[in-house]
């Protein structure tokens, strides 16, 4: 019996082994990825970029699918649900490189909002960001350069280009458009109407979201917060002159040349005045450094020494649209609230998806009278970002701390009422107050006459128009028509670049005809840039080699000419010109990840070689295979 069994066993074992060796071959399948982007109505450039990039990737043997979404859905899936492979879109950016901190630091990887939507986690990189955050003066410059160079190495996202912003305005009813940046509050204040009865300022807005939601914290509804900027005041207004090197002609723009405390970066607003006093021991120095120039502190979670305090004096007697007085308490509340919208009644904090980086360096706030003292853990320029946050009325937002609940729906913890309320009608302290709106048609704002800019004493630009009527208008073409046919005074959002040429031509023609022409094209600088973002949480996008190769498949120069008709600046570093280190200055090609090919034509062989060198494999049909 045993003999039999053994014999049998031997024979079967052989065959089984054969079977196993067949079974074991787990095939690695073709890499197929989805490019999430906006529809042409949402953002014409994005979908075009996505199309072109998609085509190149297909050529490189990757299976591509393009997933078009509406503006809200797009931001929801990218910024909140982190549910994407690759996306192409526009980053609000900033004129100073400090935004990189919240955009790339690993401690924000799981938060929702513009803070680290890529889930990019690299501790070496963090140390750079922290240095940049804390260092001052020369060292800061150098730290920023290091950060940007590391960024160019790791390519957590691929910066593509900074588009030039053009807007069309009518000068016959209002003038002085160039005083402030039209993407900010200042652009719509201090306009001088030639005739006083022209009370209504009409803006043609190509984005319908302001008519649906005016919550300054709702990241999926805000781009750069123009409308909320008008409704809410901040402590100070950043000066664009510094970042202004971007768009040739508008360098001279110098908002209302007031210059009390010689602060070159911010001009006072709700905060009348502020002072920064440095702490003695700058502990950025006491960190030991080794050969590779990284501090070798093994615990990045260590609490940071405060570096200094920022003391802000608030304007007297300001009030909110509902008549409540605006005091230092509201400011303190706002800072506290943005850092944790549950206001500590929940076990764990639920920070606001917007203004995260602005309040992150604020360790503590103390107030006496209308004096506020912010204890900061960052260098002066970074700490001052806190001046940009919108001041929320404590008596309204204090109510919005509990976790939103909808019957029969499981709610992610930390989704507080504050983040999802549409905040209508919005109560701020801004120069304009909410009048009414109709979804996807218009939003009407009334001048807020109690606003401090209306006072004689204050020499800040004030709202000259009684009413600001924001007319939602689907497309640039029709928006332009509205302005031309004198139904609107300004296109409040930048024109899509495919119409810019026509507009410019038209203008030049008009100038030849008559110089008393009411229409005028305004170009303004911007820090906002188009980019391709990876979801670095998942393979293969977690692989820097892969990301680098992808970056090398993108011909930024070509895209700029094809998609933006040349009205953009290809970039290797997502910052304004004067912050870009020479090593990353644009030199006709990308200095760090040059395109694999020539003018838009991908060199497929080179691309494959690059992928294979990065450890990926091609199958015999030339499809890129990857093990997930």
């Amino acid at each position: 019996m045993l003999a039999a069994s053994v014999g049998l066993s031997v024979s079967t074992s052989g065959c089984l082994r054969h079977v196993r060796s067949i079974v074991n071959r787990n095939e690695v399948e073709q890499l197929s990825l989805t490019i999430t982007t906006l529809s042409a109505d949402g953002d014409r450039e994005s979908i075009q970029l996505a199309q072109d990039i998609g085509a190149t990737l297909e050529a490189a043997g990757i299976d591509i699918e393009i997933d078009m979404q509406s503006r809200e859905a797009f931001r929801r899936s990218i910024l909140i649900n982190h549910d994407f492979d690759i996306y192409v879109g526009r980053h609000p950016g900033d004129i100073r490189p400090d935004f990189l901190y919240e955009t790339l630091h690993s401690k924000f990887a799981d938060e929702s909002g513009w803070q680290n939507p890529f889930g990019f986690t690299n501790l070496t990189f963090d140390t750079y960001l922290e240095r940049q955050q804390r260092a001052g003066g020369e060292e800061r410059e150098q730290a920023v350069n290091q950060t940007l160079e590391a960024l160019a190495l790791e390519q957590p996202f691929v910066p593509i280009c900074v588009p030039h912003e053009f807007r069309l305005v009518r000068t016959d009813r209002f003038d002085g458009w160039k005083q402030g940046h039209l993407a900010t509050r200042m652009g719509y204040l201090g306009l001088d109407p030639p005739t006083t009865e022209e009370a209504v300022l009409r803006a043609a807005h190509t984005d319908s979201r302001p008519s649906q939601n005016l919550n300054p914290l709702a990241v999926e509804f805000r781009n750069r917060g123009l409308v909320t900027g008008l409704l809410y005041d901040s402590l100070a207004v950043p000066r664009w002159s510094e970042g202004g090197t971007d768009a040739g002609d508008s360098d001279d723009e110098e908002p209302n040349g007031i210059d009390e405390d010689g602060d070159r970066t911010y001009s006072p607003w709700l905060g009348a005045d502020w002072t920064w006093n440095e702490n003695e021991n700058e502990d950025g120095d006491e960190r030991t450094e080794n050969g590779s120039g990284i501090d070798t502190d093994l615990d990045p979670d260590a609490d940071l020494e405060p570096t200094g305090t920022l003391t802000v004096t608030l304007r007297e007697g300001c009030q909110f649209h509902d008549g409540h007085e605006l005091t230092a308490d509201d400011v303190a509340f706002t800072v506290d609230f943005l850092s944790d919208t549950t206001r500590d009644d929940n076990e764990f904090p639920a920070p606001s998806p917007r203004y995260r980086g602005h309040i992150d360096p604020i360790a503590d706030v103390t107030k006496q009278g209308n004096e506020l003292e912010f204890t900061c853990t960052a260098s002066e320029p970074v700490a001052k970002r806190v001046l940009e946050i919108p001041i929320l009325p404590a008596h309204i937002w204090g109510e919005r701390t509990e976790t939103a609940s909808i019957p029969a729906i499981t709610v992610a913890d930390g989704t507080t009422e504050a983040l999802i309320t549409d905040n209508l009608p919005p109560i701020g302290s801004g120069p304009f107050q909410f009048e009414n709106r109709t979804q996807r048609e218009f939003v009407t704002l009334e001048r807020f006459d109690e606003h401090f800019t209306r006072r004689e004493s204050v020499a800040l630009p004030e709202a000259s128009a009684e009413t600001l009527r924001i007319r939602i208008d689907p497309r640039s073409t029709s928006a332009i028509e509205l302005v031309e046919t004198d139904e609107a005074d300004v296109t409040s959002l930048a024109l899509e670049s495919y119409v810019v040429d026509d507009v410019l031509e038209a203008e030049s023609e008009r100038e030849q005809i008559s110089d008393s022409d009411p229409l005028e094209v305004i170009e303004s600088s911007t820090g906002s840039f188009y980019h391709l973002g990876f979801n670095a949480r998942t393979a293969p996008f977690s692989n820097p080699r892969f990301r680098r190769v992808i970056a090398r498949l993108i011909d930024k120069e070509q895209l700029v000419s094809d998609v933006f008709y040349g009205h953009a600046r290809p970039i290797a570093a997502p910052v304004t010109r004067e912050w870009t280190p020479d090593s990353l200055a644009w030199t006709g090609t990308d200095p760090e990840t040059p395109f694999l090919g020539t003018d838009g034509e991908l060199d497929v062989e080179a691309a494959r070689a690059a992928f294979e060198e990065a450890g990926f494999r091609y199958d015999d049909q030339g499809r890129l295979r990857v093990r997930y």
């Binding site: 074992s13 071959r25 787990n26 809200e72 929801r76 909140i80 649900n81 982190h82 549910d83 690993s106 990887a109 799981d110 889930g119 986690t121 501790l123 070496t124 160079e149 160019a152 190495l153 649906q212 939601n213 030991t288 080794n290 590779s292 120039g293 070798t296 093994l298 979670d301 076990e347 764990f348 976790t403 939103a404 909808i406 709610v411 992610a412 913890d413 989704t415 999802i420 309320t421 549409d422 209508l424 009608p425 009414n436 709106r437 109709t438 979804q439 048609e441 670095a536 949480r537 998942t538 977690s542 692989n543 820097p544 080699r545 760090e592 450890g615 990926f616 494999r617 015999d620 093990r627």
Partner: protein, 608 residues
Amino acid sequence: MNSPPDESDESAEGISRRAMLAAGATGLSVGASGCINRVQSVVDPDSSTGMAVSILTLPGADGDREGAQIARHLEENLRSVGVNATINTRSRSELLKTVLLEQDFDIYVGRHPADFNPDFLYEALHSTYAYESGWQNPFKFMDPSFDGEVRFMDPSFDGALERQRTVEGAEREEAIAELLWRFALNQPFIPVCIPNEYRLVQTDRFSGWEDGHLATRLGYLGLEPAANVEQLHALITDARPTRNLNPLSATARERGTITDLLYDSLATYEETDDDSESNLRPWLAADWDWDGSTATIELREDCTFHNGDPLTAQDVKFTYRFLADTTLGRAPEASPAPRYRGQVAAIDSITVEDDYRLTISASTSPEVGERAFTVPILPRRIWSERVDRRVTGNDEFSPPQGTWSLVTANNIPPVGSGPFQFADRSEGEFLLLERFEDHFSVGTDDVPEPTVPELRLEVDPGTASSIDRIASGGADMTTARLETYALGGISDDDPVERVEDTSWTFYHIGFNTLKEPFSNPRFRRAVARLVDKGWITETIFNGHARPVAAPVAEKWTPDSDSEIDSLVWEDKDPVTPFLGTDGELDVKDARDLFAEDYEYDDSGNLLR
């Protein structure tokens, strides 16, 4: 939810098409859409699911008791911070198959064969190996270096790995210190402890056990048998050697002790009292000398394989070429062997001078390059035939690297040139080796030789039973390391002895860093702080182990006088100290730590 004022002025505004509709209707629609927006922004598909982690480990009682207990420890602590962790047991080969070849796992607890030279971290963590299956980078850890391509300084993990390969002496120690610092920062895997290697031997049949490391070939050679002892009877607790003897198999080999006996390598590891100079002594190579980064090697003359073929420089050359690409260039892309990856990678080119002389030029410092001398030398004729048999004419042939039949085949009978040759086996029961009379060591006195005609390796269910058996004279020695729980069962009166060897294999907790959330080093660090290495060594290993923060020998661990923070263990982990005291987790602190990066739902589960 939405503001009443809309409707009133709605009718006032004449321009709307909807002006003709009842104002109420508009209000309704606005309200409805508002509500839906609200729902949309509230519902968050991803984070509404709790984080679930499956911990892969060996069966506790019959596989690896310490490993399983570590897994339990980790599981309990993960549960208490709100991660839904479960334990998933696999047999030895299954575990390795899942981790090394199939690579679908979250976390695994196991022992790393490691190496006496910290250079093993190179193949264990270098990003170029992330997409290969085998012992090379099973964690898929990637922090690549772009030093070749970029114009500015590039600090990265790969950079550090490569640096320590090229520099020498004090400089290398520095490089390794930096490497280990990065390691501690990133925790691609959590090194737990280095257990002491105890083996039990019978002293009245054999003596001279202390001469060689019993995990290497030298341990089995040069023993002095008592009179008329014809057989060395060793016990193995792991049945794999009776099923598979393929030196390349990633799932059947770990330390490769038996491969050592069946195959020769150019050099062999030898325990030296002072760690300063190399631990390698010439074996198949009579001698070598380094000139810069090229070594000239003298082979011992007229050695033969077990089948009688002569062993020449050609075979050596072939071996390295074959290990670098097991398809010998037949496939479009190279298919490197799932073992010895780092060793072979150190070798740039080999030129055969004559039958017994060859020069090897290494891409690394000699110190690292010599590691390559420890790979088994394979008979060219046999293995190239095997390749030919598998790669038949068809031009487009790409084997699944690391899993194709050539490297998974059982290779029985194995034909090597080692001091012992295969005689017989029965699956799951025993493996019988007999002395290879033509081996160069036989009859010489400068190298230890196989002193008994037969070596019988018998599968024994577990440490406890093996101890009984040896104590009762049923066998001569245990090849496997004794599990610490059974050490108490050793009585002093029996003619047995507990031999201790230097140990470098370490228990570790490996992450699949391709997966969320393990791709996040901050998460990995947080997990590392849930493991009380000190407690583990005290209770699980009864103190017979050394807790480590850096997975290398003491001499390599950077201490206080190195320029980076010390990684030496002083009664707590210098980098990721345990959140709690002797095994008891401080749940509050731990949860706070995780809450820094991740969200909790209201029932206290960690969300991803």
